[in-house]
Symmetry: C2
Subunit: 558 residues, 2 copies
């Protein structure tokens, strides 16, 4: 038997699942394998034979079989590639997008797998970006405000249409037959763990951030659910569970069936599920209060640990045991970051820059970045509000829209690209200010996710705009690494793993040697631009000017 | 001798000169000919041999020889093409960009033609878009305000760096040797007429709109010029003339030299010079109060006749005899219109739309227009402020910048293109409102210029946004036609021409049969969007929010 022990982390993303095999002592990622979901994001029609079942706008579903196929395709590939003996694979952890949820029978069978429900969209997995439950979210928010529900302040005063009870209430209201037929309503993250070890668990991270649960107060009272709909009164006891398991726990051992899928040994430790952003925090070396982790990708997610609960304006949530057991995990977010750059590159860049990218064998993003890097802060005369997908933190307003000001006839695409990057950095600075204003200190910042990996200019701008040093996680797949770390914790030190996520993080998580430090001259200019950003932010975001909302209203009626 | 009489109109544009041969009875344009200036817009270095003489930013010069070459190349071509006997060509009229001016000797020789001054940029023609005299314009405005100069209100409270005394004061301050050597400082329009007939005239249109002259009060007092600079006190008497000739007058007869350039007969009537926008008004059939002519091209120029002087917010000027003798011509303007669409097409349109244009053998503008025409008003959720080149009317603020609000991740290039068109239409509606608010009625609108010719969607949007019917001039080259009309007036009815521009307009100017009428449903939406435009306009343009100015300041220091 080898000295080395390994764990598998599986990160279930929007389009694919990624598995990594990680060496437990060093955190070295030995191999990875990706499975692109056969049915991907289901947003036009159900993947069923016969007459098409079309979906309404804003719907986004998935096929739970794709999650099982992820295990079947990726884990055997890891073992094959590396020759690692399954004996030495001591644990499995998974993370998921959230809230991504589904209705099942009591034994875990998804309702969409049953012939009688297969053509009913509500029987399928509702993906995080299923946005068709906005009326239900509105109802939840209005009812919570009317009843002065104490939990509302933990979520920045407003819950999202993406969250658990908005989605389940939509099932109840639009497909009561599915609601009745469902024995369980469950996060896909927890369902996947259930499939692995045959034990139904409910993790503290999704329960806390997506289902309004807290360690001290549990779920909202039945009376609140009854106020939403009398049939909804006992949703927790009838279709969920009040037993919420802290992340970092062992859910169970790998079942015979799951062992056959993966090639791992039956009984291998399986960790309680986690969320992709939150599991990245210890994988980015952060296990203590005071350091903000920013997961930078299509959107930004800001997670900060604290030792007590505070109310921070516009945060997505604060959950005890939500990120690292024993600490409060604060989450904030920017609804679109990389998505804005992607939108710009796709819709707003002239042919010559695409052509240059082609000739250089690089991406148009790379060409834009190189041009934008030649500009000095303030040189373009442009300023943007980064609300192409609304604003989550700190304004919690999905109706807000993008704004760009300062264009002249000499304005260029790289100038606008830089202004968009700067706008997202200003948005992050607003979030940092909100935390500090609420008494939650932000002493250090560690970035992870897809953007820091590729975009040096962006990282330097973030450092310059916030006036803070940015470290970067060594791993470019922190969710999968974090899941593998939780797999090691589920196994425990006695079996060659670790006894806590703190121990695992110290051994398995690393930072890159280089950091991004603010350049004083840049910072001085951004310190002059930031008040202008804040003024526009408050003008358009806090109601003194309602033009964005008016435009949206006129648009809806057009 | 033929029954038909003809005149030649020559329109001196920014990049080229265009001559048309027009039949005097019907206004039919028999032939046209274009000369692209050899030295074009001189904005990098003087076209002189030897060590390069580089120009500062914001400079824009021209070579007066290009104007002579225009006559030499185009008029003979017209005669050659048509076989028209010069006997039957009874008059010549010209129009020019303005203020485009130059220093000359007493005999009209441009200083830049003299070896001793050829390498001095101040000896050349300063083109209308020479913007390097902003400090001088600032000084003129500040001094005028301090001295409560009565003429300031005729120019919307602020004169432009493009105008005559800003440019001449720049010569005095930066090149006093040129100022001293110049016997005459003259509009290029008047210089060209001087070259044609050997008689120096000064037309009422450029004097009124560009040199603060009025029929009742003449030029500003010498004391005002002295307050700017003691050496400037007698600029009018020393280097200009107080004898201003109303447009519609005969300047003289074609000289032998000019007859040789053109192939026309010596003594052919030459009209007093005009300005390209203003000469378009009678060419667009408008000779009476109440109908606004909008010359729509890279920028918009709005001209309205009235029977008395009124103060209209932000107008460029009001001049008695400035457009049609006996009436007051009000001028307003939008600094960038087609220029914004051109900027967008060049910098912000993705390759697939360019590719589609290429495949269809059309322009990217055409593709954008077709896509934008599919959208309903309000559907994009976008709104823009059309200030890519500052705002002339009604805010008179060159430091203002563009703004676009309402972007989402689904926003497309055609949606933005349409929002930009709409923004310029809203800008025109603000100008119409300002006229009506000042008691100058706008009963009808006639459009002319390059844009109405090509862009049906734009015309429909203007009709929908303003709630008014838009007629369109039949001629697509109204400046040259208008100049030919003034040539016919210079000849007079007795020689086969016309006795007044009113007569000429009635015979020679025509409208297209089709007009653009507002669609009630579109208008209803734009009536909801317009208050939002006005609110942003006032917020960013009237000083309640100074972000654009702050950005410009930071930009200058960057």
């Amino acid at each position: 038997m080898s000295r080395h022990k390994y764990t598998v982390g599986v990160d279930f993303g929007t389009e694919s699942g990624r598995a990594v095999l990680v060496e437990v002592g060093s955190g070295k990622e030995i191999a990875d394998s990706v499975y692109v979901y056969r049915n991907g994001v289901i947003d036009e029609a159900l993947p069923v034979p016969g007459k098409p079942v079309r979906l309404e706008p804003d719907w986004a579903l998935q096929d739970p079989e794709d999650y099982i196929r992820t295990f079947q395709r990726t884990v055997p590939a890891l073992l094959r590639q590396t020759g690692v003996d399954p004996e030495n694979v001591i644990g499995v952890g998974i993370d998921f997008t959230a809230c991504t949820m589904l209705p099942t029978q009591g034994d875990g069978t998804p309702l969409c797998a049953l012939p009688e429900f297969r053509r009913n969209p509500h029987a399928w997995v509702k993906l995080w970006k299923h946005h068709a439950a906005q009326p239900e979210a509105d109802k939840i928010n209005a009812t919570a405000r009317a009843l002065s529900e104490p939990w509302l302040s933990r979520y920045g005063g407003k819950i999202s249409s993406e969250w658990f009870f908005a989605k389940t209430l939509q099932i109840l209201e639009e497909a009561p037959e599915i609601y009745s037929a469902a024995d369980r309503l469950i996060e896909a993250a927890d369902w996947v763990v259930w499939q692995l070890c045959g034990v139904e668990t409910r993790n503290s991270c999704t329960a806390g951030y997506k289902a309004m649960w807290s360690k001290r107060d549990g779920f909202p009272a039945d009376a609140f659910f009854a106020a939403l709909d009398p049939r909804f009164e006992h949703v927790v006891d009838e279709e969920m569970s009040r037993r919420i398991v802290p992340i970092g726990s062992r859910a169970g051992g790998l079942s015979e069936r799951a062992a056959a899928w993966t090639g791992l040994l039956p009984g291998t430790a399986v960790a309680v599920a986690n969320v992709d952003a939150h599991v990245s925090v210890p994988a980015a070396t952060v296990i203590e209060p005071g350091t903000m982790v920013i997961i930078m990708g299509t959107s930004n997610c800001h997670i900060l640990l604290g030792d007590r609960e505070e109310t921070v304006e516009g945060m997505c949530g604060v959950v005890e045991d939500g990120v690292v057991p024993g600490l409060f995990g604060f989450e904030a977010g920017q609804s679109a970051v990389g998505d804005i750059f992607g939108w710009f590159a796709e819709t707003s860049v002239p042919p010559e820059l695409h052509e240059r990218a082609r000739k250089l064998g690089t991406s148009v993003h790379q060409v834009l970045e190189e041009e934008a890097a030649q500009l000095r802060p303030g040189e373009s005369g442009l300023l943007a509000l980064d609300w192409w997908n609304g604003n989550r933190s700190v304004l919690v307003d999905a109706d807000l829209r993008g704004l760009l000001v300062g264009m002249t006839l000499a304005t260029t695409a790289p100038e606008i690209y830089r202004a968009l990057i700067e706008a997202t950095a200003f948005g992050t600075r607003v979030i940092i200010d909100a935390f500090e204003h609420a008494g939650v200190p932000v002493e250090r910042i560690v970035a992870c996710g897809g953007l820091p990996d590729r975009n040096q200019l962006l990282m330097q701008i973030y450092a310059d705009v916030t006036g803070r040093e940015f470290a970067v996680a060594a791993s470019s797949q922190t969710p999968a690494l974090g899941s593998a770390m939780f797999g090691a914790v589920a196994a425990g030190a006695a079996r060659g793993g670790h006894d806590s996520i703190v121990d695992a993080s110290k051994r398995m998580a690393h930072l890159r040697p280089e950091t991004y430090r603010p350049v004083a001259a840049h910072r001085a200019v951004y310190d002059r631009l930031y008040p202008e950003y804040v003024r526009l932010h408050d003008l358009f975001g806090r109601g003194s000017d309602n033009v964005m909302r008016t435009l949206k209203r006129i648009q809806r009626e057009a």
